[in-house]
């Protein structure tokens, strides 16, 4: 027989997973505990990472007499906290402006080539290939890309043909959005099976049934008690 040792981390994992599922029934106290624990842990973890990051990438090099320009970055970072004062709130805009400016600049540096030029070039496909399926694929890509671009560019053009092309563009968009929606639903299923693979794992399942039953009893009592007391 398998020897079991008490595992607090596993018990907490099982409890928090089941607590999240109580939301299916209603927004219970268990759900609130799970929600607050998750938010608290995430924020705490993020804060520790950020402090550690500032310490290793800025404070240590500055104290070692190198990378003095980082002092400017630290000041701009501290200026973001001026958001909490109505009088000095304007100071936070400087830090925010640098953040947004650098972020946009870094992305824009390559976005034209990465997501416009290269994608456009990939659409210039031979309409007749050696493989008949490849031929069909190429024709579909070219026609559907053109139809979708037409749909967005010539929104007001009259005429039967223009209308048909726009319709094809719309169907292409619908097919793409449908595929994304379907994939999203199925991804949620993966998360669900992932959680239940954990809960029904060889060790976690010993905690699953007692914890689940205890939670159901507490939820039932929590529901019943106010009614009983109101009858009295």
């Amino acid at each position: 027989m398998m020897k079991m040792e008490f595992n607090f981390a596993l018990l907490t994992g099982v409890f928090l997973s089941l607590a999240c599922y109580t939301y299916v029934y209603k927004e219970s106290g268990f759900w609130t505990i799970a929600e607050h624990t998750f938010v608290g842990l995430s924020v705490g973890y993020g804060l520790v990472l950020a402090i550690q990051n500032i310490y290793t990438t800025a404070l240590i090099p500055i104290s070692a007499g190198a990378n003095y320009p980082l002092i400017g970055s630290l000041i701009l970072g501290f200026m973001l906290f001026s958001q909490y004062s109505k009088k000095y709130m304007w100071m936070s805009r400087w830090g925010m402006a640098v953040l947004i400016g650098i972020g946009t600049g870094v992305a824009m540096r390559t976005v034209i080539q990465a997501q416009i030029t290269e994608q456009l070039l990939a659409t210039f496909l031979p309409l007749v290939a050696k493989d008949p399926l490849q031929t069909l694929n190429n024709i579909l890509i070219v026609v559907m890309v053109c139809a979708t671009l037409f749909y967005f560019t010539f929104t007001r053009g009259k005429g039967k043909i223009a209308g048909q092309v726009r319709l094809l563009g719309r169907y292409t968009l619908m097919a793409t959005l449908g595929a994304t929606f379907g994939a999203t639903v199925l991804t949620r299923m993966t998360l669900f099976t992932g959680v239940w693979t954990f809960l029904w794992g060889p060790e976690a399942r010993f905690y699953l049934i007692p914890v689940g039953i205890a939670m159901m009893i507490i939820l039932a009592l929590y529901e019943k008690l106010p009614r009983i007391s109101s009858k009295k």
Partner: protein
């Protein structure tokens, strides 16, 4: 060399990815710090990724375990994207395409969750990505391909059953809808 520009991954790397890498590379006698390393978190999302590939030492001074990177043999002579040969990215693919592929012409493989699957094949067609693993089915296929059966294959049966369940409910929903419509038409007649 592993690093994260998101925020939640360093611990995931240390508790899940690194033990798996230890197990996989351990067979070939690979060692931490010599053949692989976890550089932890780099702030700034895409800006952080760009800074990392332009000058690693400007954003990382020590690894996730607190050891200065200049003391690690794997980091000798490695400081920019030009020193990399290959990138495996887990998550959204747009940032690495812009910062690693377009800027440094690095070959990129992406492992992403299922919902992003329909968006990324155009990048493969354009040659900006050389491989794509989508969700658990993709992980299962990859495990089968390399002959290392693991969590992906283990979860595939359960996933197939849930997919079957979703498909059944879709069919039942449509049957009910069209039946209800036909019944309404009959009532009108």
């Amino acid at each position: 060399m592993g690093f994260d520009a998101g925020g939640e991954a360093p611990t995931v790397q240390e508790t899940m990815v690194m033990p798996a890498v230890d197990r996989a590379l351990g067979r070939f006698g690979a060692q931490y710090g010599v053949d692989y390393v976890n550089l932890g978190w780099v702030a700034g999302l895409e800006s952080g990724e760009a800074a990392f590939v332009n000058n690693i030492r400007s954003v990382v001074t020590q690894d996730f375990r607190g050891k200065p990177i200049d003391e690690l043999p794997i980091m000798k002579g490695v400081n920019t994207g030009k020193d990399f040969q290959f990138v495996i990215h887990i998550g959204y693919a747009e940032d690495p395409i812009r910062q690693y592929v377009t800027a440094f012409k690095l070959p990129l493989v992406v492992a992403t969750w299922g919902m992003m699957g329909p968006h990324y094949p155009p990048y493969i067609e354009a040659g900006q990505m050389i491989g794509l693993i989508v969700g658990m089915p993709g992980a299962a296929e990859y495990e089968l391909l390399i002959g290392m059966k693991g969590e992906g294959l283990k979860g595939s049966d359960a996933l197939s059953m849930t997919h079957l369940m979703v498909a059944t409910f879709c069919i039942l929903g449509n049957v009910y809808y069209f039946g209800w419509k036909a019944a309404g038409r009959k009532r009108k007649e």
